[in-house]
């Protein structure tokens, strides 16, 4: 499954499938990007980050891709599980080195058994 976070705020996938959540960021000065997962009633949980000198970074079952040419960020989740159901946010730093983050619209991921 694939979602553009700005236009399709929900994504439904079947357990075991791969998920792709997309994000179009706003500022070409941004050089640090981060994905968070937020479950209902909880705070955002760090998933993975990437700096602008990279175009791909992998974690456990997750991969982040950065395309600076078109200001596009994506999060790929392999073998999606029911526990992955949550809202996913991308965030950018707008070039700030002081750690300030600006969040994009979230995408609600629902995983069906």
């Amino acid at each position: 499954g694939e979602s553009v976070g700005l236009h399709l705020p929900t994504l439904s996938v079947q357990e075991g499938d791969n998920s792709i959540i997309n994000c179009a960021y706003s500022n070409s000065a941004s050089d640090y990007f981060i994905w968070y997962k937020q479950e209902s009633g909880k705070g955002p949980q760090f998933i993975i980050d990437i700096r602008s000198n990279m175009d791909k970074r992998q974690g456990q079952r997750v991969t982040v891709l950065l395309n600076k040419t078109v200001k596009h960020l994506s999060l790929q989740i392999a073998a999606t599980q029911p526990g992955d159901s949550a809202v996913y946010f991308c965030a950018e730093n707008l070039g700030s080195t002081l750690g300030r983050l600006y969040f994009g619209r979230g995408t609600q991921l629902t995983v069906w058994p």
Binding site: Y32, G43, F46, R51, F89, G99, L101, Y102, G104
Partner: protein, 115 residues
């Protein structure tokens, strides 16, 4: 082991009655942030402390204030809450690094209701 702790988890106050939300951290991070998150929306940065230096976002209303008495604690004060201030308030911390930005670690928030 909770690392960023927000108390209380739920807070109810009356319209116009001052309220204080608390955040503590065991990470010894030098930067602390406060965000407001309304229902089905993204977290919005209100302000942050870099050590003792307070940094306000340009569009944060004057009604919102913050205090950081020491490294571990940070408070959000809402002087005269209005109905539009009902939201989840999230506290986060990060470690300043010469290598650039570091991930922020969030608490589970305080949900504020206004009667």
């Amino acid at each position: 082991d909770a690392m960023v702790i927000q108390n209380p988890r739920y807070q109810v106050t009356q319209f116009g009655k001052p309220v204080t939300l608390s955040c503590s951290q065991t990470l010894n991070h030098n930067v602390m942030y406060w965000y407001q998150q309304k229902s089905s929306q993204a977290p919005k940065l209100l302000f942050h402390y870099y050590d003792k230096d307070f940094n306000n976002e340009a569009d944060t209303p004057d009604n919102f204030q913050s205090r950081r008495p020491n490294t571990s604690f940070c408070f959000l004060d809402i002087r005269s809450p209005g109905l539009g201030d009902a939201a989840m308030y999230l506290c986060a911390t990060s470690r300043d690094s010469a290598g650039g930005n570091q991930p922020q670690h969030f608490g589970d928030g305080t949900r504020l209701s206004i009667l």
